[in-house]
Structure formats: structure tokens, C-alpha cells
Symmetry: C2
Subunit: 654 residues, 2 copies
Amino acid sequence: MDISQQERPYETSMADKSTPSSLARYLDGEFWETKDHIREEISQGDYDLTLDQNRDLTVERLEYILTRPLMRQHLKDQMKEKQPGFIAKSLGITELICSADMSTGVKLGVVCGLFGGAVTNLGSPGQKKKWYLPVTDSEFTGMFAMTERGHGSNVRGILTEACYEPSTQEFIIHTPCEDAQKMYIGNSMKGNYASVFAQLIINGDSQGPHCFIVPIRDRHGVMNPGVSAIDMKHKEGLHGVDNGILIFHNVRIPRTNLLSKFGCVSADGLYSSPVQNKSKRFNAMLAALTPTRLGLTVQAIAAMKVSLQGHVHYDLGYRRQFGPKDQQEVKIIEHQTQYLRLMPHLAAALALTFTTRFAACMMDHALCKGEVLQNNSSLQALVAGLKAYSTWENLACLQECRECTGGMGFMMENRIPALKCDSDVFVTFEGDNVVMLQVVVKELMTQFTRQLGNSVVGGLIRTWTSSVSDRLRTSFLGFNVDTVGDLSFLLKAVSYRERVLQRSLATRLYNKVKKKREEFFDAWNSCLHHVTSLALAHIHRVTLEQFALAVQECPVEEDHTLLTKFCLLHGTSLVYQERAWYLEHHYLTPATSRQIRTQLLELCRLVKDEALKVVSDFNVPSCCIQAPIAGVANPRAEWAFYSAPEHPIRASKL
Amino acid sequence: MDISQQERPYETSMADKSTPSSLARYLDGEFWETKDHIREEISQGDYDLTLDQNRDLTVERLEYILTRPLMRQHLKDQMKEKQPGFIAKSLGITELICSADMSTGVKLGVVCGLFGGAVTNLGSPGQKKKWYLPVTDSEFTGMFAMTERGHGSNVRGILTEACYEPSTQEFIIHTPCEDAQKMYIGNSMKGNYASVFAQLIINGDSQGPHCFIVPIRDRHGVMNPGVSAIDMKHKEGLHGVDNGILIFHNVRIPRTNLLSKFGCVSADGLYSSPVQNKSKRFNAMLAALTPTRLGLTVQAIAAMKVSLQGHVHYDLGYRRQFGPKDQQEVKIIEHQTQYLRLMPHLAAALALTFTTRFAACMMDHALCKGEVLQNNSSLQALVAGLKAYSTWENLACLQECRECTGGMGFMMENRIPALKCDSDVFVTFEGDNVVMLQVVVKELMTQFTRQLGNSVVGGLIRTWTSSVSDRLRTSFLGFNVDTVGDLSFLLKAVSYRERVLQRSLATRLYNKVKKKREEFFDAWNSCLHHVTSLALAHIHRVTLEQFALAVQECPVEEDHTLLTKFCLLHGTSLVYQERAWYLEHHYLTPATSRQIRTQLLELCRLVKDEALKVVSDFNVPSCCIQAPIAGVANPRAEWAFYSAPEHPIRASKL
């Protein structure tokens, strides 16, 4: 057994990979070459280091990544405006780095996605050159200070102050109370500059939250006077990421440290902004950070792919248990409960792959056209929904993989525990998932309103009888046949559910706000379960449609056939989950509902033997899988090794 | 803020607790005094130790526990037969120790529950004295070696051999192949004796698995010749428990080391057993270990109680986010999604408390009457079902607590991450949950068959038209009124579901096995989804009935009123989860199904303000809660402290 690759981190580990199959290429998408480069350069994780060792290793890995020629070029591109395919390429890079090591991926996200995103999207060209160019040259690193102790989800309510002092032309950054402390800040024990969100105050009046560059420590680690950082130390996972609390005591920064794209202050203290409405201005700033949110989806996908690979290899390959009397025990994948627990997640991983690619494409198009992202409701709804759906789906997938591999799934050697612990935080950070679902619905409402040219609630209610199309721009499929087993039926079903939930929510809100004169917050809150159901219905529908489109466009017939089955499974699984709702709405009869269950069982049974082909075509380098149960040996735990499945992997060369 | 208690581990921490309320006493049950003693003696956990430090600390803690006078007396009682209330008392002790530190609780379970259980239940009086008395005197510790690399769930297929050699009157314990290695063995790096399950072979014939006492290492840690132990090292959680692999190379042990209750070998190699049938003999041995399985349920309950306490304090006390325009933000518990995610778990924790007590009571009764546990189908089904339901419910509860407390739930200081990682393994160890569900259904079938005096499948099918009662002995409630909001409706609904699933499963199996002549394994496997649904339906029904009975018997009116609401919530939540099935079977109409949803939302809203009273009455010592978000300070993370909720806890004194 060849374990040499584990002894040489950062070196090529592609020796065991032959040319990827056509499906592997299709799943990789446009930037497969970039992904292949990264595959060659990433290394494996560690699970028995101290907190400090973990953090140091992550710093080392980040530096290694940032200095690769491919990455340097990519970061230079980030400085430019309107780079075609920049988002899609970024996501490909993020996915691969996260499959090697989640802490490195998250830290890269903090430095380049969040700090870099703040500077490049909210700053002037000069500011970009001053604060981001050095990052791309590995001269210093940054952090992103938005969340406060008292305000995580409700960012608009942050309390940190930035008071302008005309006499010195400085802002005074200050933490007025405990609730204003910047909390959970990644890279806060190591980073040099922070992009700090604070209320911009001129002559006692707030212009709302703005983003300022605040020096935290110099390159030798000496703290800037007035800044203190408290180490938050031990977390469930992401041990390589140093999260901490930043507190500012009247820290003075030059006037020019306000990132000035959406608002600036003249020397004598006059405020100006291209966006007059405070609320719109704030949303515009936040919207500039949308790409980072989409990054979380590929981080979740990376974890799913790695864990599914380990699981499928173990289940289809080695492990046997129980069986017909006096015969050999059967492979555990043959147990109905086993494939029923696993296969829908494999289908969802595929659906998420194609939907994320679609979202990246929409985003790249919008950015190249110079669109203001926050005005694109479809995109905002899609990204927020994808963030929530993918991160929850990932946790569910990891948990099933952990349970279905028994005790082996509990061993750190097999990486599933670390993936679970690392990616657990994704469901609440960079936008709590429940808040994300509310963003989805607010965007759906906004889009409706815009179509109808009227107030949200009033407008919505009229669509009950309106002939105006309520289909989002993300929806453009039309099918006619109508059997439960047909994709067309499934597509119609998920679309119907979204539409009905949307209209009934509008009615309820209208009645509460307009007729009963309830406070909007109370009305909305009393519909929150309805709101979250609608949001998930929306994102479910989009993922199924995107999966269906990807199947349509798949050029290789064999791959097309394979993907078709998984697409049907994804749709069946979505409808099955919500069959109570369909029964309540007479969309399914008791008989068709039972048929959906039968179909789910049958499809899972049908695709289980193709699972090995699919996970192989995820093309995750073995150094990332890091799971002896998947046939990747670990010299520190030789006892944990299970040889790879006997079935040769079908390779359909390009 | 008083942090003194954390600086004095192992000392009293009850200073902050006044006399417990009537509900607290009711939730504690019969052995509240024992639990109070333990409360005074337990200490807090640690999250930044190395693996070795963790293990050493756990050894220290275990020794501390084992030498407490209360515990010593309890262990002496374990040596006796027919001790009234022994099981119930054990569970009380286990729960409290696990709330302090899960590793210590699990290690105690290995040494006293599993090793001790094997010796006391499978051994002769002399064997008990020889191998368990010294454990109760802390002279040495034991381990339990059943699981093998190749056989976790299917224990009957284990491969370790124990060949009898008449010339030396010895058994030769041997690991014939890699798959026969004893794996995941707790205490294997520290323990002295192992109770090893191996095929008893005499003259080349196997008498099936039997349990042998094998010396592993002496008190100085010197290994017994022929035994090797491989450290499995790093796991997701339970870092204090040293799991490893035991391998035997022709290890010789005296003939008298075979635990002889269910089988022994004479000096000249003649085998005798009170149970002739090999399969029944094996089941009898396993059944003797049923109490340990019930122990897992209280371990899960312990984790739920601790996490719910932290969560409720944070949600109801400190944390605010969003709110009506221009007003103070509202407490996060006021958000519909928040109380909808939390309250059903609180109700389930109560239901599990009462159901476990009932199971312990059944078990104590059976043991005192000298019953053979494996013949008690109701009890076997209940314990297997409780194990699966409680450990899954615990994981779901912990995950919601983690997510609903946002970033704070990701910080080790607040203990939720450690509880998640520690108790994750419960769903697959000591009987994988999916296997447990199959045990439930096999027991249900056995009971049926016995009632009808006929073969399993043939017997079952006739009950379609039979008037024989199919209610299990665990069911003895009768109600008449029939509105969705009534407990009687909910009780009938869960009972109806179980009955229908049971009968339809019988029909399906009958058709497959008898009519279509399918192999039983294949028939069973193709019904596995049905089987697991039935098992969960069974345990759901029992928990609701037991909760309802506990409400009926509750002596204090105020507590009765409070528990009634949570009982209704538990029932509503169970029916809501399965509403698709009820709709398919016309038990719910679309209108009543929607009403169930409304009722769920309304009940969750209604009980949320009483949640603080309930979690306080769990009476978990603050040194166990170990969560700064619940107002228990941690000197190592002062930044994480949130003061306790303002509401004074209503105390209704006894």
C-alpha cells in the first residue's frame, strides 16, 4: 500500500488518478483546469495538534496557497472590474481548498473573500491598491469585522461608532459598550488590517453603517494603540481559524480609510453618497458581499463530496453485515435503509453542483454588465436560499455518512467527524440560515411588487386573480406529460408548491397588516413558519430545474442516462419530503403519495450501484479524502485501512 | 459573579440551589436523594487537554466516583440478586455523572455496566466474587470485548475462538483473522480484565458465542503474553475513553474463566447448558445486558437536559434580535421559528424521562421476580426502541440548541459542541439504531405470535380479522373524546398508526415469504423502511402514553397543569411529523391536518414562557451546565459570560 503521498504534503498526489472521465469533467465545469491545478497542490489535514499548532499550520498553508502562481494571478484579477468568469473560477478554487482543509478554506475566505471583497467592492481604485494589492503579494493579511456581540443577524443595528473629527480629518473608531464588541472575528489574532463596519457619525448624526479600514497590528504583531483583541480560542471545529473579539478605544484613523464607493466625507465633514436612501445604501454595501455567501455553498458541497466518497467506498466495497441464512453476508449498501439514507444526498450533491454553477454564472453576468447586485432579486433569493439549503443539506449528509459507517465514522482518521465539526458553523455564520430564508422571501416579495408596480402586500394579494406571470427569471422549463414517475410531474409539483405558498403568504400578510392593522414585525413573525416553508420550496424548485437543465445539456449519452436517474431521484425526494403538504392541497391523492414513496425506494435501489462511478467523478484527490475506510491509508492509523472496492471504476474517457 | 465553584472541582456546587420545587422532585422520581448526593459530588469538564491528559483525568474521575460511599454501596448491591429498584437507581446515578462528564459516565458504563454486567449476569457466585468484587473495591478495572472488526451489529457472527484443551483444562483464546480483532474496546489501554465474547469450540465444534474472562494486563500495566492492544486514539468525542483493538494470539486461560451461567465445560470437555437451543442461549446472554442499553437512554437524556438548559436561559434571558420598528428588539425566543425548533425537544425530554422510568420499573420488577429478560417482548421492544429514539432525539435536540444559540453554540465554553461530539456515537454503539428498530419489530412479531400460538407470519396475517387484542402490555389507556386538540385523539392516533403498520407489515411478509417463497432475509430487507417506521411508531406511542400517565399521577396541581401542556405538545408533534401517513390513511382530513399544524405552533408559543421553569426543575447542577450563556461563568473565558435571565424562577416548594 502506497502511503508516500501522505508523507510529502504539498506535493502532487494525482499519481493514482488516471485521466478523468467525461462525467468528472462535466461535474467540474468550465474551470476544470484550474481545479486540476489545485488538486495537484493541496495537502492533507491533521487532527491531533494543539490549538496553536493548528493555527500556525493554517497560516503556513494559506501563505502557500496565496503564493501559487495560479492563485496570484487570480487575486490580481480580483483587483480588476468585470472579469468574465471570476466568480465561477473562485468557487472552483474554494471548493478544492476546502476539500483539502476546511480551516485553510475559511481563512482564505476571510482574507480574500471578506476583507478582499470589502476593499475591492466598497473601495475606490486607490484604496484597492493600498489595502488589497499587498494582500495579493502576501505582505499582510486582513480581517472582516461586522458581527457584534449584540448584533449578529441584525447587522443594521450595530453599535460601533466612527465619529468624524474635522479638525484632524480623522475618524474615531470606538466600542461604546459590551454589545458593540466585534465578535467571532476570523484572523483576529494574526491579521494586520480589519475592514470594520461602524455607524458613520458626523456632528452627532449617523449616516448608517459604513466600512472603515482600521490597522490592528503591524507586521511584527505590535497592536495599534487603542485596539485590543481577545482570543475566543476553542471552538467545535475550524481549529485553524483564530476567532476573537476586537474592541476599539477611540482609535484614530485617517479620513481616507473610509471605503468610499457608497459614501464619503469631505475634509470639512460633508457627507455625500451616490445612494440617498440610508436603507438602500446599506443594502448596496451588503450586496457587494453576495459572492462570499455563494462561497459557503461550495464549501458545503466540498464537505459533502468528501464524505460521500468515503461512505460509498466503505458501503459498496468492504463492509458486509447480515444476509440470507447460510450464505455470505451482504454488502451493507444492499440494506434498504442504508441506500435510502445515502442516495438522496448523492442526488442533492449533484443538484447543488449544477445550481451553484448557475448562480455563479448569473453573478458573473451581472457583474460584467456592471449591474448592482442588490437589485437582482432572483439572484439574491437564489444565493440566500442556496446558502441555507446547501449548508443544512451538508450537515444532514455528513450525519448520515457518519452513522452509516458505524464506529468508523466516529474515528478522526476517517475525516467525517472533522468535516462535521468544521462545517457545523456554516448554518449560522455569514447569515443565520433562518434569516437567510427570510431574505429569500423578502426578495420574492420585492420581485412580485416590482412586477406589479405596487406596495408589497397590496400588490401580492391581487395576483390571486392576476394573469401576470409569477415565475421567477430562474424558471424557464415547460413540460406536458403528467405521470408521477416523470420529471415533468415532479417539476410541476415543486413549482406549484412554491406558487401556492407564495400567494397564501401574501394573503395572510395582507389580512394581518392591512385589515387587522397589525404591526408588520408581529404579522411577519406569526407567519415565520410559512415564510421558511416558502423559502425552501423556492430553492428546492430551483435546484430541481437546474439539475434538469444540466441533464438536458449533458453531451455524453452515458452520462446523460446516469444523471437522469439521479435527477429523478432528487425530484422524487423533494416531493416525498413534502407529501403531507401535497395531500393537504389535493395535489397528491393517497394512492399517488404512496406511489411516490415506492418510487423513492425503487430509485435509491436502482442508483446505488452507480454511486461509485459518481463519487469517483467528483474527482476529489485522495489526499483530500483522508479516509482509510475509502482506501486511503493513514500511516498514523494503519489499523483503520480498508482496501478500495473491488469493482473497477468505469472510465469513459473524453 | 461567583466563580468559586469552578475553582474547586469535586466540591459542593449546590450553594446556588435552593430547595428543589415539587416538579423538580417529580422529574427526579423515586431516587431523588441519590441524585442529590451525586449532584453534590460531580465536577466540570475540560476541553483543551491532550488525549493523554483527557484519559488520565477520566481515570481519576472514575476512581473518585467509584470510591464514594454511595457508589460503593450501590456496587455491592449489584453483586446481590433481586435488589428492588437497582436499575432505577443506577439510571439516576448514570444520568447525573453523564451530565457532569460524558467520558466518565461512559467509562463507568464500560467498567460497571458492561464488564460488571457480564460478570454479574453471566457468571456464577464465585466468579462474581473473583472478578467483580475487586472492581467495587477499586482494585482493578475491566472491559467488554464483544464487537469485532468484521461484526458490529451481527454479533452472532463473531470469529474469535475459544478452543478447549482437556489436557491442560484451558481455553485457548485466539484471533484467527483481521476481521476477528476486537475493536472499539473501551478501557483497552488501561483495563486489567476483559470479558471476551468468543465461539466456544470443543473438539472442533462450536457451541456458539460465550463470554470468557481474559487477563489483559496486570496492575503495573504489563501485558499478558499473547495479548496485544492497539490504541485507536482520536475520535469525534469521548476523548477520555481509551478505545482500542484487542488481538489474542493463543492466549491460555483456565477452564473456570468461562462465565458459566448459560453454559460450562467439564474438566474432560463435556459441554452443558440450561438452555439447549444455541440461538436461544445466545439471546439469553445478550438479554442479560439489556440494562446497559437502557443506560444509553439516560445518557442521551442527560445531554438533552444540559443543552436545553443553556439554550433556554440564553433565549429567554439575554439574547435579543430584531423587533417592531423603533422599539426594543425582542428576545429571540419570541421568534416563531425559534420556539418551534426548541419546545418540541423540551416536551420530548419530559416524555423520555417518564418512559425511561417506566422501563426501569418494568425491568426491576422482572428481575426481582427472577424473570428471564429475553422472554419479555414488551420490555425488549421498549428498551431497543427507547435506545434508538432517545439517542436520535438527543442529537436533533443538541443540533437545534447549537443552531439556535448561533455562534455561541459553536464555542466549546458553552459545552454544546462537546455534548454533540460525545453523544454522537450513541446512535451506533451498543446496537446500531437501525438494528435496534429491527429488534423492536422482531419483538412485536414474537409477542403477536405468542398470543396467537402460531408461526410469526402466518399468525400475524390472521389478526386482520382476529378479535384478539393486539395491544402490547405497555398500553393500557382508554379515552373517548375525539377532537384534534384532545390528548385522547392524539393517543388514539399514534396507537392506530402502530396497529395499521404492524398488520400491513405482517401481510407483506406473509405474501413474500409464504406465497412468493422469497428468502426471509430478502423479504425482510425489502420491507426495511416499513419495519423502521413501525418501530418508531411503537416507541412514539409508548412515550406518549407514559407521558400521559405521568401527568395523570402528578400530585401537585400546578405541575399537573404545566405537564399537561407539554404532553399535548409531545403528542401533537408526533402526529404532525407523520401527518402524511395519516392523510394517506384518511385518518386526518386536509383540514384536520392543517389544524394539527396550527395546534403545534400555538402550543409551542404557549409553553415557551414556562420553559425556564421546566429546565430549572431538571435540577442540573450549575457545575454540569458549564455554559457561560446559561449564566454559569467560566474563568478561562470571561468574555463568554451572559447573566442569568431576569425572571425569578417560580419555586413551588414541597
